[in-house]
């Protein structure tokens, strides 16, 4: 008689909001939510890239736990009961988005990503119709030295999707982050103009995964920068298979 193969990864059942679901135990909460179209806001997580856990928008409540958990970096477990929407979570997400809007210059009306921006879209979803937090009004530089692309630090939310896609998918590691706190800035090579970069392959993946108008194509005008991220899960899967 054939022996059943011992599974290395178990399947667990859990409850997210009102849905009873099953999931592999090596999946994170956000992956299960995405699979079942349960909306959880996030600006740093992207299917195909490593976990970052920086935007803190995907925080959820676990039954029996007083502290919150980031859905992108928390694995599911048997019997877990997860609450993705509550007054408290909505309030926190609202405030975090406000903090982002106040931190740098996010004026949608003049942005090439207007209408195609994940920050803008999330703000609308979360009902951020005004910002109570004082704007900082700090001017950051714009790097237009690359012949095809442009980096506008004023629109950057430091989600590091560009850093991760360049390192993990393209394998160039052109991008990194320098400084700390609010002085953080995404840099190409060792803080050289992007156009002078020796490592950049001009593949444009960073531009496509950027959630805002920070990384865009040259020559786009207001609202013209539409991004396409469909390549990412496919490339990521190929990379992990090979």
């Amino acid at each position: 008689m054939a022996q059943p193969a011992t599974p290395t990864v178990r399947v667990v059942t859990l409850r997210i909001d009102d849905h009873d679901l099953s999931a592999r135990e090596d999946e994170t909460i956000i992956e299960v939510c995405r699979e079942h179209h349960i909306p959880i806001p996030s600006l740093c997580h992207l299917d195909g890239l490593s976990v970052w856990g920086g935007c803190r928008l995907c925080m959820v409540e676990l039954e029996g736990q007083s502290r919150l958990y980031a859905a992108c970096s928390t694995r599911v477990a048997e019997g877990m009961r997860i609450q993705t929407q509550s007054d408290r979570l909505r309030r926190y997400r609202h405030t975090i988005l406000e903090l982002l809007f106040a931190e740098r210059n996010h004026v949608c009306s003049v942005c090439v990503s207007n209408g195609h921006c994940e920050l803008q879209w999330l703000a609308q979803k979360c009902g951020v119709d005004h910002v109570r937090i004082p704007y900082r009004h700090v001017a950051y530089p714009v790097d237009s030295s690359h012949e095809m692309f442009r980096l506008d630090h004023n629109r950057c939310i430091l989600c590091t999707r560009c850093v991760r896609v360049c390192d993990e998918i393209e394998g160039a590691h052109t991008w990194d982050v320098m400084n700390r706190g609010t002085d953080c800035r995404v840099i190409s090579d060792l803080a050289q103009p992007w156009g002078n970069s020796d490592t950049c392959t001009s593949c444009g993946k960073c531009v496509q995964v950027c959630p805002t108008g920070a990384l865009v194509k040259q020559g786009t005008s207001v609202g013209e920068m539409v991004k396409d991220q469909h390549f990412l899960p496919i490339l990521a899967r190929r990379r992990h298979l090979s």
């Binding site: 920086g54 803190r56 925080m59 928390t74 975090i96 931190e103 939310i157 990194d176 002085d183």
Partner: protein, 536 residues
Amino acid sequence: MHPEDLAEKAAQFRAEDAAIKREVRVCMAASCQSSGAAPVLEALTQLCGDGGGTCRVKGVGCMGLCSAGPLVAVADKDCDLADSVLYRDVMPTDAPDIMRSVCGAPVERLRCPTDQPFFARQQRIVLENCGIIDPDSFKSYVAVGGYAALVKALSEMTPAEVLREVTTSGLRGRGGGGYPTGLKWSTVAKTPGAQKYVICNADEGDPGAFMDRAVLESDPHRVLEGMAIAGYAIGANKAYVYVRAEYPLAVERLQTALRKARGAGFLGNRVADTQFSFEVEIRLGAGAFVCGEETALMASIEGLRGQPRPRPPYPAESGLWGCPTLINNVESFANIAPIIRNGGDWFAGIGTEKSKGTKVFALAGKIQNTGLIEVPMGTSLRDIIEVIGGGIPDGKTFKAVQTGGPSGGCIPEQHLDIGVDYDSLKTLGTIMGSGGMIVMDDTSCMVDVARYFMEFCMTESCGKCIPCRAGTQQMHGLLDKIANGQGTAADLALLEELCEVVQATSLCGLGQTAPNPVLSTLRYFRDEYEAKLADG
């Protein structure tokens, strides 16, 4: 090596200077050096010469009463601090008088009484050798019983027995979190993995805290011994000490200790002639406070950008280079040798029900006796500040004591009678932290205090997560506005809301605890905030 062989060695080291009867000990820790201890040591050494073979001058580690430095103790050999004649504020010109007093009457004009509560009320376990032995001398550490615990563990105990002693002792992490050390050790021990690591966190960064620096500068071998015992217990053969580069003297003494311990066969291959091998390396921090957070610290050791990552997985499961890793603070490791030597039950007999042993505190701010003290857990804050610390100078009155650095909070007068332990401080809205205590008198403005700590967190935030990066910045702006008398009730409300969001959503401990100084000052001194409001 058999314990008897080590005991023989220790006896031999003691016999080498059996002729020495009297010692002149000069504190050569960082704070006494900064007030001029080096020339004092030089002058005394010159005058002493060979001391007729019966007297010697030596540099030792921290004696605790930093405010009175440079400190010089004249004592019989093998005599501890409380029984010595202690001199304060010593100048090189005082050397002849001190040398004359070695065999004669004490110099009354320099005398610092050692029967005062500052010395009498302490119980020294971690600091037992501080200010007595020469930190650069391997022999003097062995002579006072050093490495006996390691040899005992290696030759007479199984790793499981070591774990049991540490668990029985009830020791909790001295870095501030208070996680049970025994539990942490056995978790790493039970996690499968061919390669495991031990890390000593010596990235002490809280403003006003200098416990770990003093231990490393005064008794570095004790930390190495604790680490080696940990390595044996959990099955690790490689360790790192992560020290901040701002502690050059501690680094230097640690390097010397490493070299000598390796030379004597207590580190490296076949520790003390057993099958156990244990290598220790030093890694220097480059000045980021966040690197005291364990995941950021490990990233830094790996050569990556020092920023935290989400936990779980905890280091016990996936730490340095993905391997199971034990990470403890300097003071935790410094407690291990006495626990193994005297047994876990002995240690569990000291302290309170849930916080065992002693705690080293660094007293700073508006207090008579600034310096380093070690008291049993459960000692009341009033005892620490008014009796041991000598109260508030210049006839001012006490206002608050800040514990736990930028992650902690302020405790006002009405709660001074509480016994200090991990849990009692938590109920007051602050934390034990690593042991810094900053005392404030009635001239301190609590909004200023909160603003100071928020500025610290803002500049030390790594920038990875939004609540901490942008939230601390906004909170600092609001505190600044309120402190300058331009804040409104709406600003105060927004500040409180930001506190809640940053506390609940930040990625690591730095952000999660950054609002604590604001929340605790709001809890006890709300009237000061309201008095400063423009529309109040």
